[in-house]
């Protein structure tokens, strides 16, 4: 390949050119890298340092960096239920969102015809209003005296005193709803590129629709599926608005604890420690997931 590709170009000293080419990508990366460094790496380092501050320090006396690694076991011991709950709720919400989101994305991408754009707008439109407003709207929908609870009581799915608001169900529903578009959009993007001739070929080769889905559609939509699940799961795990507004203290997730550590209790070392624990836990889950699904394209 190499002699042919060089043939048509004007001759120039090879060393200088390869040097220039070698630097070019890095130069192009510079603005992005500088941005990442200033707004991601620097705060991250500060947070890491804060998580190792002397836990007996305080706002008025200041905090000293004493490499207090003991902050980690202490925080984990005190708040493991909220940690578990975060992953549990986000996991259940993810499964629900997949059950709803995959057919939805498939329908929009393959079956919607001229309604495609309208349906896409319907998925995106709620994002035009604030996250908070949407969650508050759910408070009205799930309200004890609302139509939905009334209906569920009438069909005896809920007891006469039963409620949805302020239960784990409400929190999981809120998470599912709020992060669904993050799952649907990447899925849609990869399903839209799906070549229909492959499906036809599959059925020509006597594959049942189910087998076609399992062996052709699903593997081809894998990049979108993985991107979508990550975009859904990561923010859902760290979310605290849904638990705060739709749940009770018994549904609080780790985000609520971090929020209160930083803003209410002013326990900065503990807040930083919990943030780091959450970050590492999510990273571990994500890497495990990517290893299993084995997609090089994502990384």
């Amino acid at each position: 390949m190499s002699p042919r590709s060089e043939a048509g170009r004007p001759a120039s000293p090879p060393a200088a050119r390869s040097g220039r080419y070698r630097l070019l990508p890095y130069l192009l990366l510079l603005p992005g890298a500088a941005w990442l460094f200033l707004f991601f790496v620097v705060p991250l380092v500060q947070l890491a340092a804060a998580s190792l501050y002397d836990p007996t320090g305080s706002l008025s006396t200041g905090y000293a960096l004493t490499w207090a690694f003991g902050n980690y076991p202490t925080a984990l011991q005190a708040y493991w239920p909220q940690f578990g709950r975060s992953f549990l709720y986000a996991g259940i919400a993810l499964v629900l969102a997949l059950l709803m989101g995959y057919p939805l994305a498939y329908a929009i991408a393959q079956k919607a015809g001229r309604w495609k754009n309208l349906l896409l707008v319907c998925v995106i439109a709620p994002m035009f209003t604030s996250f908070l407003v949407r969650t508050l709207a759910w408070k009205t929908i799930l309200s004890d005296n609302g139509a939905l609870v009334g209906l569920l009581r009438d069909v005896h799915l809920l007891g006469p005193d039963g409620r949805l608001l302020a239960t784990p169900v409400a929190v999981v529903l809120g998470l599912t709803y709020n992060f669904l578009p993050f799952l649907v959009l990447p899925l849609y993007a990869s399903l839209e590129r799906l070549d229909r001739r492959l499906l036809e070929a599959s059925s020509d080769l006597y594959a049942s629709p189910l087998t076609t889905f399992r062996r052709v559609t699903l593997p081809l939509s894998m990049p979108g599926l993985i991107a979508g699940t990550l975009l859904f799961f990561i923010p859902a795990t760290g979310d605290y608005i849904n638990a705060e507004l739709l749940g009770t203290p018994n549904e609080y997730m780790i985000g609520n604890v971090i929020d209160s550590a930083f803003l209410v209790r002013l326990d900065y070392p503990q807040g930083a420690t919990l943030s780091f624990l959450l970050m590492s836990a999510i990273l571990a889950v994500v890497f495990g997931y990517l290893r299993r699904t084995g997609t090089e394209e994502i990384l």
């Binding site: 190499s2 380092v45 340092a49 960096l65 302020a166 009770t248 203290p249 609520n256 990384l299």
Partner: protein, 394 residues
């Protein structure tokens, strides 16, 4: 393939980036060592007063905490009155929505003795107490506040966190007590009923504001929130914990309990008088209850932060709002407890019904029942707040 240089791959780049990030992190951690103390002293952080030459004032307040003209929402009659009386131009900003959030907004400047760009800010007792303790608030010149001296309600003088009335002057006050929605439940008289009555199970909320909720619980146990021991606090906290564990208490809230109470999703709650009066205007079956064991009296206070450069102008404004006629004008709009004596007589001229409302102009029995929460030092504040947060789940 050109073998002259290594291909530029995503994987290579990621490895490189992660590697350098890890190195930087390690390096950065070694150099960054702690945060400095935020404590300031009067000698260490001296503010210059430019009021003599600059007739301006920057005033930060909570939303809907100032009277507006009925026909033109952009006009604020009492504030305009101040401008025309003194010639001081006021920049009025409604940028305080939450004490903790606002603290986060100004803490870096105040900890470093820099200007926040504000001359007056309005914060609740406990936050005012914290800032005073940190040395972030300027001492007021009481000789310039004759109206405050003459008209401030006696219950609001010499409060625990500002024993000599040097730093904080109440803007508006309020009560923390009980409230219920008469459409959903019968009357509620005591804190114990709220925490144990079976028909209210899962239909009760309490405030996430530790001092309000715990103050009421302490009083229901016969203790004094202005002066209690750690054991008494634990006792009251256990009572709260039992109600949380049994599912009696559904949630801990900020202001957001109000729509839930109006809808009837919650039947009864620990709430603030001002909110309940406003709900009561729309639905008379929503009532505020001052339990016999006592209610908590809190205030939002005008404070002049360090490096505010118009302290004398600020004092003029504080003094102006303690003129009973002005105070009545404000109270007629905001419906909280008016901290100014004599305003009740002025209110008779504006709206006799409001003048007779004990939740705006509390009578002797109400005031006798009300207490101000004790001032906590940093250690206590953290200890109590952590214990309380554990119980309310965060």
């Amino acid at each position: 393939m050109r073998s002259a240089h290594r291909p530029f791959t995503r994987r290579g780049l990621l490895t490189g980036t992660l590697g350098s990030a890890a190195l930087l992190t390690a390096g950065g951690t070694l150099t960054g060592c702690g945060t400095p103390a935020a404590q300031q002293t009067e000698e260490g952080c001296v503010s210059e007063d430019l009021s003599g030459t600059e007739k301006t004032l920057a005033f930060s307040n909570w939303p809907q905490y100032m009277d507006v003209d009925e026909d033109d929402e952009s006009k604020r009659p009492s504030l305009d009155g101040f401008v025309s009386r003194t010639g001081i131009q006021v920049t009025y900003t409604e940028d305080i929505n939450d004490n903790n959030e606002f603290f986060g907004k100004v803490q870096n400047q105040l900890a470093a003795c820099q200007s926040t760009g504000r001359d007056i800010m309005v914060l609740t007792d406990w936050m005012a107490a914290r800032m005073i303790r940190l040395g972030w608030i300027q001492k007021l010149d009481r000789s310039k506040l004759p109206n405050v001296e003459a008209n401030l309600l006696p219950s609001l003088r010499n409060r625990p966190f500002d024993a000599e009335n040097q730093f904080a002057v109440p803007w508006q006050s309020g009560l923390a007590g009980l409230a219920y929605n008469g459409r959903v439940t019968g009357e509620i008289r005591t804190v114990d009923e709220l925490l144990t009555r079976p028909d209210l199970k899962g239909k009760v909320t309490a405030l996430s504001e530790m001092r309000d909720t715990m103050g009421l619980l302490l009083m229901s146990n016969g203790h004094d929130p202005a002066d209690f021991t750690a054991a008494q606090f634990d006792d009251a906290l256990n009572k709260l914990k039992r109600a949380v564990d049994s599912g009696q208490i559904r949630r801990f809230t900020g202001n957001d309990y109000a729509p839930d109470l109006a809808r009837g999703d919650i039947a009864a709650c620990v709430g603030w008088s001002g909110d309940i009066i406003q709900l009561g205007f729309e639905d008379e079956r929503i009532r505020f209850v001052a339990p016999d064991s006592g209610v908590l009296l809190w205030s939002d206070n005008m404070l002049v932060p360090n490096q505010a450069s118009h302290k004398a102008n600020a004092e003029e404004l504080i003094n102006y709002y303690y003129d009973p006629a002005v105070a009545a004008q404000l109270a007629a709009y905001v419906n909280y407890i008016c901290p100014v004596q004599g305003a009740q007589a002025e209110m008779e001229k504006i709206d006799p019904e409001l003048a007779a409302n004990p939740l705006i102009f509390p009578d002797e029995t109400m005031l006798a029942r009300s207490r101000v929460f004790m001032a906590l030092d940093e250690q206590q504040e953290r200890e109590y707040e952590s214990k309380f947060q554990q119980v309310i789940g965060a």
